[in-house]
């Protein structure tokens, strides 16, 4: 397959070929001269229109001139010669934080899923498990460089390896439009043959009997677990006393345990009381802010902030941390657990925590430990609906990537312009010799 660094030169050559052919076949030829002493007896007439039917030699001469013109243009246009058949490059994007043993283990099952003949290349993407949007950025960078190096690539396919639960899809939604082809999403959990839990199997268990507790009402999941069914995640709400972390080892049937320490006075354990506190503020979580008569009575202590197992999950409007999550070390066989401490004093009788503005806070407190609550299925569903709606092409065309990149300079292989120039020169010599022979005839 031939490609050109300056294809416009070849287009010009094509126009030249058309003009050459038109002139060659339609031009009027002057007849050869004949020296004749009795030329005076030749009747005077037009000496221009001689023959409009091209001789076979004219067609051969035309072919020769076309060859010379195309060879000269190809020599100047930076011709690049590659394998005649294009192929598809399959990119597999995975989280750069994953252990190498996982990616090695996954190569065989993924290769079985991919079409034969595709070249598979693995691309590490930082933070892919949090938000898969980074895969598009890295894939575009990687593919853009590869298609310039390998002119045999005519299309690019993308597979993204993501866990079943994701923290955010903002990056995915923001960058999705940059990738023109469809994207194949593959759950790493399925590769490891792990089962994914249902969002519906979450239960709230208030540990303190407080009648009409608005916090408990806010944290209760919309779908309740059926009687006798075992939830996959239990949220234990502590309002009057802090949770007993030592007693967690007795719980063996839960997959995941979320301890929410939300004291009524707004001072969780480990937080430092404030001398002066606000009574009205805004609390931001998961991109949503809820404004209400929340009293900020405590702030996180220095030890809490230095703890590497602690992450902030909610903030006051001025940026101060309002709620944190601490990952709890679990023994073998014990459920995954975390402790979420909330330093908000909620006045009695308010129902602001039940409104839509507090959805972010509720999700942050109900989310699985680590925060990942988005399921891959939702992403796959949106990908499928987008694909149907937009009728995307199955694969990203490599030409589109090449068009965005600066055109490569020079020919490939390097000796090709010399060869083409030699062909053009030889053609000119041949034409010169041919015309001399025609004139001498």
């Amino acid at each position: 397959m031939l490609t050109f660094a300056a294809p416009w030169i070849m287009w010009l050559a094509g126009v030249g070929v058309l003009a050459l052919g038109t002139l060659h076949l339609l031009s009027v030829r002057q007849p050869p001269e004949l020296l004749l002493p009795t030329a005076r007896f030749v009747p005077d007439g037009t000496s221009r229109a001689v023959a409009r039917r091209p001789r076979p030699n004219d067609l051969l001469l035309l072919l020769l001139r076309v060859l010379v013109l195309l060879a000269a243009a190809a020599a100047v246009a930076g011709t690049r010669c590659t394998a005649s058949q294009g192929h598809t490059m399959q990119l597999v994007a995975y989280d750069a934080a994953l252990p190498a043993r996982d990616t090695v283990r996954w190569r065989a099952p993924i290769a079985r899923l991919l079409p034969a003949g595709n070249t598979v290349e693995w691309v590490a993407v930082p933070g892919l498990s949090q938000d898969p949007g980074g895969a598009f950025v890295r894939a575009l960078q990687y593919a853009g460089g590869r298609v310039l190096d390998d002119a045999g690539i005519d299309s690019v396919a993308l597979m993204v390896l993501v866990p079943s639960r994701l923290v955010s899809r903002r990056g995915w939604d923001a960058w999705r439009g940059q990738w023109a082809g469809r994207v194949q999403l593959m759950a790493t959990d399925s590769l490891d043959q792990r089962s994914r839990g249902s969002e519906a199997s979450v239960a709230l268990r208030p540990m303190d009997r407080i009648p009409d507790d608005v916090v408990a009402s806010a944290l209760r999941p919309a779908d309740t677990v059926g009687r006798g069914a075992t939830p996959s995640r239990e949220i234990q709400l502590y309002r009057q006393r802090p949770p007993d972390l030592l007693a967690m080892s007795t719980i063996s049937t839960m997959r995941e345990l979320v301890l929410v320490d939300w004291p009524i006075d707004g001072r969780p354990e480990g937080w430092v009381p404030r001398d002066r506190f606000d009574t009205v503020g805004a609390v931001v979580a998961r991109g949503q802010a809820v404004i209400g008569p929340w009293a900020r009575v405590a702030r996180p202590g220095a030890a809490l902030l230095r703890d590497s197992a602690v992450t902030a999950i909610a903030w006051w409007g001025d940026g101060e941390v309002a709620a944190v999550e601490r990952r709890l070390a679990s023994a073998t066989g014990a459920p995954r657990a975390c402790l979420r401490s909330v330093a908000m004093r909620v006045p009695a009788g308010t129902d602001l925590l039940l409104g839509t503005a507090a959805e972010g806070l509720r999700r942050a407190l109900r989310a699985p430990c680590g925060g990942a609550e988005l399921l891959l299925d939702a992403l796959v569903a949106s990908e499928r609906s987008d694909g149907d709606r937009r009728e995307r092409q199955p694969l990203l065309r490599a030409d589109a990537l090449r068009a965005q990149a600066p055109r490569p300079v020079g020919a490939s292989p390097p000796w090709l312009p010399v060869l083409l120039g030699a062909i053009a020169s030889l053609g000119l010599l041949t034409e010169w010799w041919w015309r001399r022979r025609e004139d001498a005839r």
Binding site: E33, L34, P37, T38
Partner: protein, 303 residues
Amino acid sequence: MIAGYGALLDAVRGLRWSAPHRVGAALPGVHRSTQRGTAGEFTEYRLYRPGDDPRALDWKLLARSDRPFVRLTEDRALWSTWFLIDASASMAFPPDARGEITKWDVVRQLTVGLASVVHQAADPIGLLMAHGDGTVRMLPRTRRGTVAEIGRLLDGARCSGTASLAPLIAELPARARLIIVTDGLGDEVALRTQLRPLLVQGASVHYIHVVAEAELNPPAGIHRARDLETQQLHGVLGASERAAYLRAFAAFRAELASAWRALGAHYAMVSTASDLPRSIRALVTGASDHLATDAGSADGPQG
């Protein structure tokens, strides 16, 4: 025997080219002289008139007839032959002969052959050859080697330029045989004008029109005709123009023949395909005149 002309000279050996009429008094030769004397071949008796040379009386006849008769004899004289040769550029046609015979080859062969015939009668032979670089002259001579000299002059000549033959007529004597060898594409009208007085005075003019086969039958195809001598570009010679060209050239030849004959000259056309010994024989015997009817045809070559 000069090289290259051996076969031709052998073919024309023994030919005699007598003068068509009595020539003027001159050195003794083979041609009948206008002068009658007491020497030479007996022709008739004439009654004696006062003033006749008494030595011419035939005494025996006087004794038999008692009447004086004078014995008359016929004198023979030499008659000069001049060759007027056209060596212009058009005579070197076809230009790239590649084994073909050019008009100049015909001129050389004809001239040497005719000169050989004339030389056999011991007549003086002179030559005037006009070409682009000037004129070559050879005064009349009868000595041995004259034909060879003529051959060398012709072989060494180069056809070039435009040759005018008319001005050379002034150098020719009135009572001589003039043999003009040309292709007729030069100053024909002036040439005839200059020759008219000589013809009146008794010159015998032989006009040999040399044409090439390629002129009578140009190559097929479509060509732009360019004059070989003037290098002027003329019309296109294609299939449709070919017939007109042949007609025009035939008409020219017919007109040329008619004009020369009307002048009192002998006209003969010789082509590059002609059998030259036969053509020479026809010229010498006078049979070439009977070929004049073919000179006007478009089929050409004759001789």
